[in-house]
Amino acid sequence: MRKGTLTLTPALSLSEAEGARRLNEDTMSEIDQATDPAALIEAYYDAGWTDGLPVVPPSDAYIAGMLAAAGLRGDEILGEIAGRNTEVVAEKAAINAVMAGCRPEYMPVVVAAVRSLCAPAFAYHGPASSTGGSAMVLVVNGPIVERLAINSGNNAFGQGHRPNATIGRAVRLIMMNAMNTRPGLLDRATLGNPGKYSFCFAEHEEDHPWEPLHVSRGLKREDSAVTLIASNSLYQVYNQLAATPEPLLLCFADALGNMGSPNLKGFNQTLIVFAGEHADIIKAAGWSRLDVQRFLVEHTRRRLADFKRTARIPGAVTEQDETTWRHIFENPEDILIACAGGRAGSWSACLPGWGNKWTRSITTRIDVPGRTA
């Protein structure tokens, strides 16, 4: 066996396994520890630098390639969180991106996401450290989606696509390692959620009822962009019977206004993701983005009596409380709408934003050296 290589062993009988064990021990003894990926991976675990999954051990060349792909010097500051004396240095971001498994060409997306994290309006401390345990949800738009093959279709929130899995993971590793946001310390999540490992998907801009998300937020269609919103929940919304927007959107209003939601009292933002069949219903009816937003602002509401019965507001229920409505959203633009997912299936999703109106979702243009988009 060639020095420095390992083989995978298929299922063996006990006697065969004993022989294989000896063989592997002999083989392992020949392996230079410095070139053994498994030893390096364990070393990163031992140092406490992983998110629980194995990391890709960085090299000088891969880190340099990561920086070059984003047109960065290693000592550049990507952003800061002043109240926490935190600065994100490009080299550290690049190391974490390698560890996450990113290819160099993903780095501009990671950088844009980090700049979003550090935008003052995002108010990092709350969504990053809250007991609510938010995922940092990244929605990617523009020409870069096709170039990097970021999944916007079937299983857009799920597994199986390297850019989706690793870009989101890089952002979380940067938060943990370069922004000191570690579970149990400055990440105080009570439960957290699986989206904290990684949550990145692309918008499906074809067959979209309206302009893409980044255009609705002031960028040009030919721009590439990443939109960051902190969300501690993902509700899949099902409706196979609705043929018009109203009954379909009432399901969303109900999901967004459930009394267990943390976000009923502060006029926060939310992200709605329409998949193909539901997007078609809205498109066929000729509803605009603003029509959908206004409908949800109007219909996402609960009686004051509901708030009091569930002790979300103190006090005894009065007769007047039974007919006094409280709306959950204040402004139509606080309902972000994106399209993603497979063409088949009567599913969509809502991802309520963390906290109240003091944290805002952030859309940042992705700058790729040598490209205009």
Partner: protein, 92 residues
């Protein structure tokens, strides 16, 4: 074996602490309410006790925009000018 450290330490900045008071008697009290649920109530109760026991009086109250935000410069300036001692809260 070569490892690349992915971590950053917080940026070190010099912080000048205010002199500690030797007595609480008659001090001017500043309150910083971070808007967490019941923070205003708790701070008010604390202020009442400090007034009763030590003759302190609330001279300035700052209600933060949110728990996530820092106090703005004007707020810091007012606390500096008008308070001898500041209580900030609350955690949950």
């Amino acid at each position: 074996m070569k490892l690349f450290d992915p971590t950053s330490k917080p940026v070190e900045r010099a912080v000048m602490l205010a002199p500690r008071p030797t007595s609480l008697r008659g001090l001017r009290l500043g309150l910083v309410d971070n808007t967490k649920f019941n923070s205003d109530t708790l701070l008010r109760k604390l202020a009442e006790r400090l007034a009763a026991r030590h003759g302190m009086r609330v001279t300035v109250t700052n209600r933060k925009r949110s728990p996530s935000h820092e106090i703005d410069e004007a707020g810091i300036k007012a606390l500096r000018a008008q308070a001898d001692l500041v209580i900030s809260g609350i955690g949950d």
